[in-house]
Amino acid sequence: MTEELIIAGFGGQGVLSMGKILAYSGIMQDQEVSWMPSYGPEMRGGTANVTVIVSDERVSSPVLNEFDSAIILNQQSMDKFEEQVKPGGVLLYDPNGIINPPTRKDINIYTIEGSKLSREMGNTKTFNMIVFGAYLKIKPVVKLENVVLGLKKSLNERYHHLIPLNEDAIKMGQENVVSILEL
């Protein structure tokens, strides 16, 4: 099994930490992982993206131009990465702020109202975990118990009391993913 994923959106949406939690979860189940961010000034307010690879084998290139899955969280990223999803792959996006929805017919497309649901949960910081939950529903590359272990590893101990909230957010995402196009 090899999953090659791009997560792309605005800085501050938790794009990089979502990727980190996935990578840690992969380690918890003895898989090979890589996490390659866009870096530099664009992290602060502009677009941010991270390529995460989880595999049973040694990871070759950490930088890719085609992906099994893409999680898209703003229009700029949609414009850039829709075409980079492999035919038959998965594109998951939050419709909030998306003016031009994806048009491809050869990929599986899903939405998650992460922004809206996080407000409903009363904590907008749960946004990325709601989206992550939706992704895991579509692509269960890591087990939920390993995600919890991954959260413990990747979060500073003083935030460990927030882990149950994150678990709730993941469940919220799993329950609310909407299928737009399934091949």
Binding site: V33, S34, M36, S60, S61, V63
Partner: protein, 361 residues
Amino acid sequence: MAEVKLMKGNEAFAEAAIRVGADAYFGYPITPQSEVIEYLMTAQPHLTTGMVVLQAESEVAAINMVYGAAGAGKKVLTSSSSPGISLKLEGISYMAGAELPAVILNVVRGGPGLGTIQPSQADYFQAVKGGGHGDYKMLVLAPSSVQEMADFVEDAFDAAFKYRNPVMILSDGVIGQMMEKVIFKEQKDRWTEKELIEINGSWATTGKTPDRERNVITSLDLDSHKMELHNHKLQAKYKQMEEEEVRYEEFMCDDADYIMVAYGSSARIAQKTLNKARAKGIKVGLLRPITLFPYPTKVIHKYTERGVKGFLSVEMSAGQMVEDVRLAVNGKAKVEHFGRNGGIIPSPTEVLDALENQIIK
């Protein structure tokens, strides 16, 4: 079993520096390697191992601090990225001349000038062919994973002290910024002054004791005859490195008709290309030089004798390492370069296209 950690290459380098028992790190922030000094400042190794960490006023000051500490026989490191390494080259040349051991990390970004903060491999010439003034060489190690960013710290110190010569770890923005699994070795103690002298001899400026003549660290000799002899001594060391220190990794080279040559992050990309090409039935192999100086010239020469038809040098530059491939091939087969510049990372499919169009066609 040692714990598996998920870390950036820059952080892994910093942690490995503490664990290897380094005495000091002197640096100056520059993207994309500032995580090194940030990690060390947060870790506060002065409270545990006694390692000194200092943010200098400039890269120039930092490398001269490295010179000072190295002259005292200490295990000392610095790190920077391309524009900062340019500033450090004066000091590196002095260290090569004065025969001082030190480990220097370059997390390369695109140039020339201020360039870009994105990854590049355009500092190959600078690292491998000297860079600073005078006839000198550094041993250059090129990590292609976060694990190697950690492991090469100890390898670099071993070589630095074996040869009393600066060693460069030539990384880039991909390897520095990405996170991968990494396992660290156990914490080692720093050398005491007694151990330092027992292990390395007493050449360092630790204070003149009555049992020996004074020790002097200098790269100067106004007597040209003596300076020529000193140059001969340095060249003999570089020759010995060529004989004893060459390291490389081969992927499916045994039956290959064509061979890609790539180091660092380009080697990772080329591995993906290799898988794609083999799936298409193309018999291609990949040679990953781990030491860039000394270069694996002999193994490339061996491929040509076996009848390999073409070589593609893949690097994030306008074509620098390709010159060393050409020297090794010596006209016996086709050699081409493929690369992207200015911080653009080539994709595995682009490399495959280049292989098919520039080499196989």
